[in-house]
Amino acid sequence: MSDVLGIPTIPPDASDSLAVLEKQRSTAETFGIPLAVLLEITHRCPLQCPYCSNPVELDRAGKELTTDEWKKVLSELAEIGVLQVHFSGGEPTARKDLVELVKHASDVGLYTNLITSAVLLTRERLSDLADAGLCHVQISFQGVEEGLADRVAGYRNGHRKKLEVAKWTRELDLPLTVNAVMHRQNLHQLPDIIQMAVDLDADRLEVANVQYYGWALKNRAALMPTVAQLDECTEIVEEARERLKGRLTIDYVVPDYYALRPKKCMGGWGRQFFNISPAGKVLPCHAAESITGLEFESVRSNHSIAWIWQNSDAFNRYRGTGWMKEPCKSCEFREIDFGGCRCQAFALTGDAANTDPACALSPLHETIFKQAEREAEGETNRFLYRNFAGGTLESENGT
């Protein structure tokens, strides 16, 4: 943990990189307000990525919070001690008021990150965002050359546009993160993707293996990498980290299907993270709405955001360890990984309180691992694209 200046900072894995500045504490204590909050200001997006992490039920434009409602949210977040916000989506630049929202966030003292696919940005708009106080731009890439990249995104000429926007970002003196979502069909490009990040003068690269819930689960057979591919991927990342020290920071998210221990998803449910959905729901993670039977409170309710974080049923349901069943309940790792990911447990077992099957102690681990291995070796490469039309199956010839 000790990093700059003998400072407790950032653990290397991306899911924890904005951990609350908290000392080791008992789970029974109250939970501090997170340092960073993800704002999914819209679910609208021109891309149709098969691994989309948004919930299967998307919020329509008409349900989105208004400009004034988002401004009120931003002010409230700053007031209760949030330090950073990530403008995300969907595609956040699809909102016409993005510059106004970034300006307001800066005015109330928030550090602002933009998480974007970049395809809708013009140089003028990016410059306006910089002037409004935007601190950092993260651009997603689907591959290293337009053939594959545009096919994965289901969006023509997207890759070319992304390269252009990345260049403008650095010209405007904004720090750049390249986010590369990795899976079986693009893992072979990883060395070139790392080089692309260097060439684009990025500060940071996220090598994020697809996580399989929500829409991505529908495409698991087309995306799941083999064990050999993943081992190679890890080696490549480790070599590049060493070689590019001081030049490019690489955050690495591994898929958990082939792991023995599950990931400490979100740093533990309701411990250090929440996000706000386009319609204003306050969620413990961006996939939480996939768990049926949980009621999430909205910023449109008469409760404050701090109250929702501390007291709402949805946040308390899987907080700490009290909710656990065996094998989690008596497990020595229960406060290390908090039983893994609740959304994955729900998606694969039907009960979010079960052990995440990514854990070797889950009775389902073996079955799921075997199934993933079979899928990884399979020939199914056709994508089911993600869109408001309810999904489109890729044609046989890949268009």
Binding site: V4, L5, I7, A14, G81, G246
Partner: protein
């Protein structure tokens, strides 16, 4: 364009936090923080004091002079510590050097 990267901190450097790294007092948690892309760092008291002096005008030597006077400590030891600390920060991308302004 951005300030230079991979700077080598010396007595003559005039360090400054880049635009994307913001030193701020967190009123809620009562600690100083550096806000950076997807990162929140918590510098200790000494680091905060040094960073508050990094305005892109003063050089590292002058910063060491100040601290040596304030704490009545040997200047050489302070200078060495300050350089190590700033170099570490620079290598993580959270420090740059002031340059002549180009219009």
């Amino acid at each position: 364009m951005a300030g230079p990267r991979n700077i080598s901190v010396s007595e003559a450097s005039r360090p400054v936090l880049p635009r994307h790294a913001k030193l701020k007092y967190d009123e809620t948690r009562k600690v100083w923080v550096i806000l950076a892309p997807e990162r929140v760092l918590a510098p200790d008291e000494i680091a905060v004091e040094v960073l508050q002096l990094c305005d892109g005008q003063r050089n590292v030597g002058e910063i060491a002079d100040r601290l040596a006077a304030k704490y009545a400590a040997p200047r050489e030891a302070i200078l060495a510590d300050v350089i190590v600390m700033l170099q570490d920060l620079a290598e993580k991308g959270f420090l740059t050097e002031a340059r002549e302004k180009t219009p």
